[in-house]
Amino acid sequence: MMAGRKVIRKVFLFLLTLPVFFFIFFPVLWLFSASLSTQVELFAIPMHWIPYHPTLQNYLDIFFPSLAASTVPRTFAVSLINSVKIASGVTLVSIVIGSLAAYALVRIPFKLNRSIQLGIIATRMIPEVSLILPLFILASSLQLINKPILLIVTYLSFALPYAIWMMAAFFQTVPVELEEAARLDGCSRLGILFRIVMPISVPGLISTAMFTFLLAWDEFFYALIFTSTLASKTVPVAIAEFIGRYTVNITGMMAGGILAALPPVILAFLFQRYIVTGMTAGAVKG
């Protein structure tokens, strides 16, 4: 009888997972399926859940933009490159500069240490909207609008505090005894950071880099305000730009959306071990 109840419980729990799976997969699978159809087939009623004539044309157009008929794939091709450039720049600066700060905040007691830590948490919470006006006024007068460097610098307002917090969480796990031993041997603080803490924390640094990249890849608001030419837009802005237009190539945009979602989804799968650390570091606390 116990065994019977156990089986019923198993079946019941399994049935509970089905609506969850449906909620998770229905939107993305439909989007993917629709991105494989032609514009004409997309509008079929009743819906062809799986296209009768699936085609990779929408993807090919993005990869070979010079051959594409509409402006959508051409813009996506450019904006994908812009997004990669900007997110990589932000990540590089955040890791290099942020790792120094993270180490000092975690391991060196000094006046204001705690105030700086708390200030950095608070910074993470301030919405971009409330910083935008002065940044926009300054950027306009310096003629930096549409320049990638402007997005890289402004993205640091959220990426750098995030990276500092996440790296601090990893540096905290390096045993203090190791550092003390090195100090007794006459190693300087910087020597400890570069020869001991950093090498031990390589997985942490890589996963911090990945999450910082995702944050920058996801960013929309600064890019919306700071870019006006098609050549300078990032992927999110390119999507927003086209979505309001009625005559636009929708299936082409869907393919663009899938391609924009692929790098973060793949990176997240590769680094799933660190996701919870990454999430909570970004949230509030290391």
Partner: protein
Amino acid sequence: MSIQSQTLVKRHFSLRQQDARTAWLLVIPSLVIILGVTLWPIIYTFILSFYHAPTGINQVRTFVGLGNYIEMVTDQLFWDTIRRTLYFTVVSVGLEMLLGLGIAQLIHSHPWGWQFLRFALIIPWAVPTIVNGAMWRWIYSADFGALNALLMQLGLIKHYIAWLTLPNAAMNLVIVADVWHTMPFVALVLQAALATLPIELEEAAAVDGASAFQRFWSIRLPLLRPAILVALIARTVDAFRVFDIVYILTSGGPAYKTLTITFLTYLNSFPFGKQGIGAALSFLISIFTVIMAFIFIRLLYRPEETQ
């Protein structure tokens, strides 16, 4: 005190000083950048909020004192927007917490395929916010949307509906789209916390005859409190400043029914060209955020945990 120990103390002291110098050297590059792109804009915004500052060529700023703030609080739209932002925050975060806790609990009970479920949760979380917004806009589409197709094939509707133009449904539809994207965060954080809970307490309670609900309510939930608090705070802060998904799904429409506080700020600052009002709203949001941050830090971040 012997001479030897005095020199030792002295050396130790100078080492500390040296340490502090190194610390500042390491922290300053980050500090300069962070202050430059956050603190300076906040101060500038504060000053700007006392000026009538229309955008455009040949427009001049004039000092109006509290004029912008008065104009802001006497506008009914402002209060409606606050109310809607709170509605979005409470409903969206509430649903995420309930669903997240439920799904975490479900994964923790290890049904068939639980590893795959945990794996699958990563997808909605990793999809970029704007792609998520676009996807749901297409799902809700009146011409080819999956929601219409699904409801029609189930026989629930007779013809396609323009969902996002329904004034009473629009905000809730935005919330569904937001929940899809952010619920996995809550579920994964809580599931990770559940996995680390000691099992002995619950086993002992079970032996003593406590029901499953009692065990959940009086043992598991209190132990989960820190993780729940982290997820709740992170999500509340994020939901309050929601912008991207509103921009892409509804742009605040229909008839301002999905207009949130950050969107109102954006509208004033850029399309409406009223920088003074935009600055006043921005500054208000900053102040509110700092207060929230302060409360949360007090709740979560106790001194003994740091050093």
